[in-house]
Symmetry: C2
């Protein structure tokens, strides 16, 4: 499945069908079953990672989630990340930068939210906003936006070199699907708070965002930290795919339970005597 | 159930049975069923809290978890807190203070980890360490330890006044139960990493810790922020009790879905036209 989602410098979003379920033949029910079946394996890998970090393991995983409004980032956090022990997760949500953040390089606030050892880091939006909305809304001079792609590549190369597996996911939905999801938010009073009038303004810029995503994916998909374009129209598939990506990243680390740094039998005796 | 767990200035730990299941008549299976049955209500309350915070609701909840080694704090985080959307939780684990933290007042690092609006804050250990291990290990002059109780009462009073419901939980296990749990850690290679030789040294000070807990509970159980002594020998009961405490705190806030700040019909029309 994973290989089918990977992107590179030649990836075109028009070639990726948001309705597809690459590498998975089953239907929704089968997909949900597969997701549930993967929960304990992922949880076990995470606990082993945490345990190993107490014995010096410094490798870890960072999941970067991007996508248009309503693409399903929140659902991934709730249903995939949420299945893991909260103590093993470092979640950061990046909103519109504050004045203080803007007074620094755009990677400053990102650096501060990198996961500590033993944790799965999750970015709900990320440094990519600075080449997405940054580009579309012209929030910085064109030359600076250009520079940012290189800055990102260098930054992520360092992360990977120091043991952070960077798993980049674009949740790819179609304009029609977004329309349906925004419509649902307007139809359900318990979803009204998720809708803002700005959503339509952003939606009108769909093509510009699509182009900005494509450019970002092309320019920052490296061998060390490739993008994955995850079809997002079927929420169940996107969740299954991201679970597979996280599981794969942790399996590559293959963290081990650390051996005791003390004499187990001696401690048993001492404990028994208390 | 909740009232039976509450503590006050006269509470004595010797009167609280760590094996008891106050307010719950069922067995383990019934307890686990009740826990599972409460998940969606708690999750719904949390989502409503988050939604309401986008419309100005500033009230929130802070769960303070304390207990001896192996009392089950981690299990509460995993099984009770872990059932809630991670985006709605702010979890902070307080370990041995760093040099930098020690250069500040003991509440400095606590203040920095208070939950933002819309979130359930969870403290795995807390400012109480400064009157527990602080007292037992004499990490500060006696007069300063005395001052800290007052500091804590004032601090929590401010939290409550500014809308943070402080839910304080001591997970209360017996020395025998701790022995069994530590023994299990020594018997299972996948648990060896959870054990340190310091655990026995701390265990030898059980009576001192018990006294320090009792004092802390007596001196900082206020009407605004009472302690709850949750019997911890049966993990399933402790989890059910903490779920009940969190649910109760959120029900008292009774957060509401905010009404739309825009004209819903107008937005529907505009969206349909895109």
């Amino acid at each position: 499945m994973i290989e089918l989602l990977r992107a590179n410098a030649l990836t075109r979003l028009a070639d990726r069908d948001p309705n597809a379920t690459p590498g998975f033949d089953g239907d929704k029910a089968a997909g949900q079953e597969a997701l549930a079946a993967g929960v304990s394996h992922l949880g076990n890998l995470q606990e082993r990672l945490f345990a190993a970090s107490t014995a010096g393991e410094r490798r870890r995983v960072l999941l970067v989630l991007q996508g248009m409004d309503s693409a399903g980032k929140g659902g991934i956090v709730r249903h995939v990340v949420g299945s893991v022990d909260p103590q093993g997760v470092h979640l950061a949500t990046f909103k519109k930068p504050t004045e203080k953040e803007l007074s620094h390089h755009f990677l400053w606030r990102i650096e501060r939210e990198l996961p500590p050892v033993g944790r799965i880091g999750v970015f709900d939006r990320s440094h990519y906003e600075d080449v997405l909305i940054g580009r579309v809304r012209e929030l910085a001079p064109a030359a600076e936006i250009e520079q940012r792609y290189d800055d990102i590549v260098e930054f992520e190369r360092r992360l990977v070199r120091t043991g952070i597996s960077v798993v980049k996911v674009m949740l790819h939905i179609s304009p029609d699907e977004q329309k349906a999801r925004l419509t649902e938010r307007l139809e359900r009073p318990d979803k009204h708070w998720k809708y803002t009038t700005n959503d339509i303004a952003e939606r009108m810029l769909w093509d510009d965002y699509e182009r900005a995503y494509e450019l970002a994916i092309q320019r920052t998909s490296t061998d060390e930290a490739p993008w994955h374009v995850v079809p997002g129209n079927r929420k169940w598939y996107a969740r299954l795919a991201v679970q597979a990506l996280l599981t794969d990243a942790l399996e590559r680390i293959d963290p081990q339970w650390p051996s005791a740094t003390y004499d187990v039998d001696e401690q048993k005796e001492r404990l028994a005597a208390t």
